[in-house]
């Protein structure tokens, strides 16, 4: 196989993989907030997935990762976060720190 053909083949493979990976595999995971509790409290996801918190309370909540991302969740509204790195993240509501959740993100 000549160098040019090899490069073309690799490029095709990469493009093909990217086309399949991006839109069809990323998921939206829903977490409901009702009476000061995240449900489900623990979720598993992978990099690229999005979490949508649906706040059913008449109170403002947040999903706040200590030293990290924060999503503001107004009363009766929802908010989203795209997961960008793998790891295990504990989060709380900054206004009601007894609300606790965990996201485990696979690569």
């Amino acid at each position: 196989m000549s160098m040019a053909v090899y490069h073309a083949a690799v490029a095709t493979l990469l493009l093909g993989a990217a086309a399949i990976a991006a839109p069809s595999q990323a998921e939206t995971i829903k977490v409901t907030i009702d009476r000061l509790a995240y449900a489900p409290a623990e979720i598993e996801a992978k990099v690229g997935d999005e979490i949508e918190w649906i706040n059913k309370d008449s109170l403002i909540h947040t999903a706040t990762v200590k030293g990290g991302a924060q999503v503001l969740l107004p009363a009766k509204k929802s908010g989203r976060l795209r997961l960008q790195e793998p790891g295990s993240f504990d989060y709380i509501c900054r206004y009601h720190p007894n609300m606790k959740g965990r996201i485990t993100v696979r690569p």
């Binding site: 109170l59 206004y95 007894n98």
Partner: protein, 174 residues
């Protein structure tokens, strides 16, 4: 614990003592509704004082949360009593809570700056602890109506959150 808070705690203890021992005349739903609503109003007033007096970002944010949350819960409580056709009934516990809050308000009004911030937040920790204790041991067990009981249970979870939030701010101020 400050003197006035002690007075309120004593009032609640007396209320439990006077009614709980016999188990016959626990607080009624109209009294429970009045106590819970009053406790919320008093914390809203304290929050307004803090928002006006404090320059500390964490303290003001905490006070704004108290104002917002207690207004939201009290508006739910008003909707519920209307729906249930219950008229909240004034009682000794509500009166003692109001008196203690007024004394505290005057005490706080004499302070300023970091001194005010610390005193307000420490009082908020103690106040929520006291109200949560009353909810757990007196108000929730005594509530007869299921919807009232359920609102009180949500209230307890919310106020436990406030207590933790206040404890975090208190630790920051030290």
């Amino acid at each position: 614990m400050t003197k006035n808070l002690k007075a309120a705690a004593t009032a609640i203890a007396l209320f439990i003592g006077a009614t709980g021992a016999l188990g016959a005349d626990k607080p009624t739903d109209p009294q429970i509704a009045h106590i819970a609503y009053t406790a919320g109003v008093l914390d809203i007033e304290a929050a307004k004082q803090a928002i006006a007096m404090s320059k500390n970002k964490a303290v003001v944010e905490f006070a704004e949360t108290m104002l917002r949350d207690h207004e939201a819960v009290n508006s739910q409580a008003l909707d519920l009593v209307k729906k249930l056709n219950v008229t909240p009934e004034d009682n000794d516990t509500s009166k003692a809570l109001s008196q203690a809050a007024e004394t505290k308000r005057q005490e706080l009004a004499k302070l300023s700056g970091a001194e005010f911030d610390r005193a307000y937040v420490e009082h908020e920790v103690a106040y929520h602890k006291q109200v949560n204790g009353a909810l757990e041991t007196m108000l929730i067990p005594a509530a007869q109506n299921g919807e009232l009981k359920s609102l009180l249970e949500t209230g307890l979870k919310l106020f436990q959150g406030h207590q933790q939030h206040a404890e975090h701010v208190a630790a920051e101020l030290k």
